[in-house]
Amino acid sequence: MQKQDIKMVVIGGSAGSLPVVMSLLEALPETFSFTVVIVIHRSKNVLSEMDKLLSHIRNVPNVHEPDDKEPILAHRVYLAPQNYHLLIETNKTFSLDYSEPISFSRPSIDVTFESVAQVYAQQTVGILLSGANTDGTKGVSEVIRHGGIGIVQDPNTAEYPVMPHAALLQNQAALCLPTSHITTFLKQLNDNI
């Protein structure tokens, strides 16, 4: 597995992905020099405190929902806010977009992955997890097309295999890894710096 100078790890998940996201965050070492952006589908009109849930993890800096125009920092974990698409500008700030849902999703994993890939190119790792729809397939191809690394949770280990399965079908270059290997991968990313 080739190692690159990774600046951005973007994680997308839907149904069944929350426990996996938790264990990925737990695996992050105390210091890491990249940025983590998480996009998880949530139901629309339920007030969600997922940022608090995810923040309850040892070692990891608070998971934070960025405001519009907020600068992107290293060693931070960001969570896409409910009901907005999360985009990234070339000057490395977030911008939010309250436009139509895409594939019934807002935030859309595809939209954030594509936007990250355009700005961070080969410095990107895109990780797609469990889910019951096909959001993220296009996003993983965009990450790979821009020279980044695409990782898809092994559908056999996913609570809902539809999403990782769809992404693997369309992306031969994506790495298909069980959760434990994804955490090892994240740890190594950091060792390499």
């Binding site: 500008e89 911008s95 309250y98 436009s99 895409i102 096909t134 397939t137």
Partner: protein, 281 residues
């Protein structure tokens, strides 16, 4: 390998191409998109091209130059027009509890909804004012860049499909009445009752180029400035500052912030969670 999945295999303009289109629109039609946030603007143009089935930049330019009816459609489709009644119910709850009681001391209450889209937000405000007993003293100005939005807003039409969500939002915002008394239902759509629209003036106003036009006690500009870059945001915040009476209120979207702007010292926070601010003097 490029795979076609769903709707999203769209033409992506390069930065140079985007610049060309922005200039073309500015020169020919006078709409200024130069200071819009680039990423979303690029996506919106791609979306327009996709819907109109335009495959190349040349086709887009050809249509923009030669078909003014195409431009009308393009402009309507380019801006993000998504809106809801009582969106972010906790925002409306804070308006009820923290802002309206203060506005009650003014003989005439002037409120500006900048970027009102199809009116759902200003209709919600009108209902709040009614429930606070202030509607007969209120003048609501609702403006938008997009004429098609204003046309729909003037008719008072709201989507029947979303009535359930709106009713839920209304209740969460602290509404105690039967929400269905505020509209008359038809088959596909509902219409906000006339008495909750008669105090509203809908007009075209472009935040990027147009001036101050009145003095307000409250300005709502929610989910509009997220499409602007920081420079244009600063410009619009100054416009709002100059359009507010001393101690006037400013409400922005729940994920927007004054923190990254030039005016942050000139406002104080009224509700941090609902992003309601107040002009300092």
């Amino acid at each position: 390998m490029v795979v076609k999945i769903g709707m999203d295999t769209e033409y992506r303009l390069t930065e140079v191409e985007l610049e060309e289109i922005i200039q073309l629109i500015l020169q020919k039609y006078g709409y200024d998109f130069r200071n819009y946030a680039r990423t979303s603007l690029t996506r919106r143009i791609a979306r327009c091209m996709n819907i109109a089935n335009l495959k190349t930049l040349y086709e887009l330019k050809y249509n923009l130059i030669n078909e003014s009816s195409f431009f009308t459609w393009f402009l309507e489709t380019l801006t993000v027009n998504v809106t809801e009644m009582f969106r972010d119910p906790l925002f409306y709850k804070d308006l009820r509890e923290k802002v309206l009681p203060a506005l009650a001391s003014y003989p005439i209450i002037k409120i500006w909804h900048a970027g009102c889209a199809t009116g759902e937000e200003v209709f919600s405000m009108s209902i709040l004012l009614h429930e606070a007993g202030l509607l007969n003293r209120a003048k609501l100005y609702a403006t938008d860049l997009n004429p098609a939005n204003l046309e729909r807003a003037r008719k008072g039409i709201i989507s029947m499909e979303q009535i359930k969500d709106y009713t839920l939002n209304y209740i969460q915002s602290g509404g105690k009445n039967d929400f269905s008394t505020y509209y008359t239902a038809h088959y596909q759509s509902a219409i906000i009752r006339k008495e909750f629209r008669s105090n509203i003036l809908f007009a075209q106003h472009n935040l990027a180029v147009d001036q101050v036009f009145n003095e307000f006690q409250l300005i709502c500009c929610r989910n509009v400035m997220i499409y602007f870059n920081r420079e244009l945001q600063n410009h619009v915040f100054r416009l709002f500052y100059n359009s507010l009476s001393p101690k006037g209120y400013l409400a922005i979207g729940i994920k927007e912030s004054l923190l990254f702007t030039d005016v942050k010292e000139q406002f104080e926070s009224v509700s941090a969670a609902a992003r309601i601010y107040r002009r300092k003097n």
